[in-house]
Symmetry: C2
Subunit: 365 residues, 2 copies
Amino acid sequence: MSTFTPVKNDTFLRALRREPTEYTPVWLMRQAGRYLPEYRATRARAGNFMGLCTNPELACEVTLQPLARYPLDAAILFSDILTVPDAMGLGLYFEEGEGPKFKSPIKDEADVAKLAVPDVGTSLKYVTDAVSTIRGALGGRVPLIGFSGSPWTLACYMVEGGSSSDFRKVKAMMYKRPDLMHQILSVTTEAVIQYLKAQIEAGAQAVMVFDSWGGALADGAFQQFSLAYLKRIVQALPLEANRGSFKEHIPSIVFTKGGGLWLEDLASTGASALGVDWTVNLGQARARVGERCALQGNLDPNVLFANPPQIEAEVAKALESFGVPQNGVGHVFNLGHGISQFTDPEAVTVMVNAVHNYSKRQRAQ
Amino acid sequence: MSTFTPVKNDTFLRALRREPTEYTPVWLMRQAGRYLPEYRATRARAGNFMGLCTNPELACEVTLQPLARYPLDAAILFSDILTVPDAMGLGLYFEEGEGPKFKSPIKDEADVAKLAVPDVGTSLKYVTDAVSTIRGALGGRVPLIGFSGSPWTLACYMVEGGSSSDFRKVKAMMYKRPDLMHQILSVTTEAVIQYLKAQIEAGAQAVMVFDSWGGALADGAFQQFSLAYLKRIVQALPLEANRGSFKEHIPSIVFTKGGGLWLEDLASTGASALGVDWTVNLGQARARVGERCALQGNLDPNVLFANPPQIEAEVAKALESFGVPQNGVGHVFNLGHGISQFTDPEAVTVMVNAVHNYSKRQRAQ
């Protein structure tokens, strides 16, 4: 167990707690990724993507890379969202140029009956080891975010066997055999809870649940098959972690991509913050969730393909749309989805500086 | 020019006009399609998909096929959404197992400068011929819907050169060179207006604009790069068509998939009805648009993979969510997206009957 250092730059954590901040904190989903040449170099050394995820030293190395380039306000564990189903025995693998796949997807009742909560302490030790390693290496510079895929999102991959454009298999099972779907989601939810608890124990200072495919669900189905499990997770997580000589409050972020219509529902999970994608108007979202939670988002990653003055203008629009966060309200700047691998790293410099500078000026007015 | 027969079953048109109907009318996006064995047989005869689209007799044949099976309340022209850019010289083609592609996508300013509104009367005559043929063959049984892709959706394909998961090229152009994007959209909008006018003249009794990729846009960008052009189209279309001995009112339907957050904006286009996908709660949508327009939707096509009682229950939920349409309010039942090619045709029978029967019982209460 590493010794824990209290965080120095806690702007991100204060924004999540809806406390005043001197500027709007910023980090990027997938900030450690293929758009960075240094990431590609480390990945080449690791051999492949899972080689990178399962090696705590290399996972730590890539986690820290974007922090060396940019004054980001948070680090996020480098890992994959599908580690939990992999630990459940589904056999995660990656084929070059394609998305993640499972060797043994869930096809029928017999496959569902076999599902069990994995022993997180052994099968996902490589993740908690990465968390400890990164926390130690950060030395309190910025907070470390742990994460998991949401039960519904994991179930999509588990039943489809990989990415899908229509979610036909998983939704056919959901509509035809809701009992089986709830069984998959219940087991997966318990696994996610244990997984996130283990990440918090290992040093994560905030946790995020990526409900990447929640927005594919119909109204009504979303509440039953995704929201209910998101709520179960948020409610089961510890509010505080004991770090020996001090305690840390552990905020949670729930991000349902495409879930802009359900912000009120999502606020009811009790999450500290909700991620929102670029289809959401930040000002309207702030009015809808009020002081129930902070918001995180929401620049279209494609803005980063524009020229610097255009990137700055889009950042300003987002910050103006949200407005200056008063006490009781919080905003963490982010993209509305992961950064594209084709992004010029210089564009990120422009964006991060624009967020910090513009939001400082906003507060000074 | 065929002689026009006034429509007998005008339930669909009355719902769009927000007038009372005896039951909720229903049709399905992509109702003439691969899930029907008779469609696959005609397509095999045509050789390929574009062979089917460009042959008015065969296009008519497949348009009528679902009406022979199901008591649907509208027919929709069988065509492709990309006929307009094809007529603009981009060279539409289909590769087996892949989506549509363009031989000459728009890459730069020079390509944009070359874009011009095509002569709809010659280059898209195969479409208006299909409309006349179908209208004649329908003999007034149900109304015929004409359609086009929205300018933004067409621009996505025109710039990306085909389908895209991230819209990187088209959004990079939009953020970096908004002038070029507006030029593409302006030319395309004028082409779409002429195209829809020609379909109406040929006999279409309602028109629908498919903004299939509007939901990929950020709030703010959507209003500038899709909504503004949708509004221009709706405002330019004739409200009435002269059919010799009688006149027909021509309602318009705008469907921005993933546009549930922007229903108020979309209502401002002046469209008779808005299509909504399954993420939208119909009751809430009705409250939001009020008496400004009717709504069309919104069952998840994957519901059709469930068993009959489950399909009936989901239909009932949607109809209950909307509630009985009072005068001034209208609902057309549909899926929230095109029907899947893997659908059992029997499931459609269950769905269509459920819509008619349940909505009649609702009104009787």
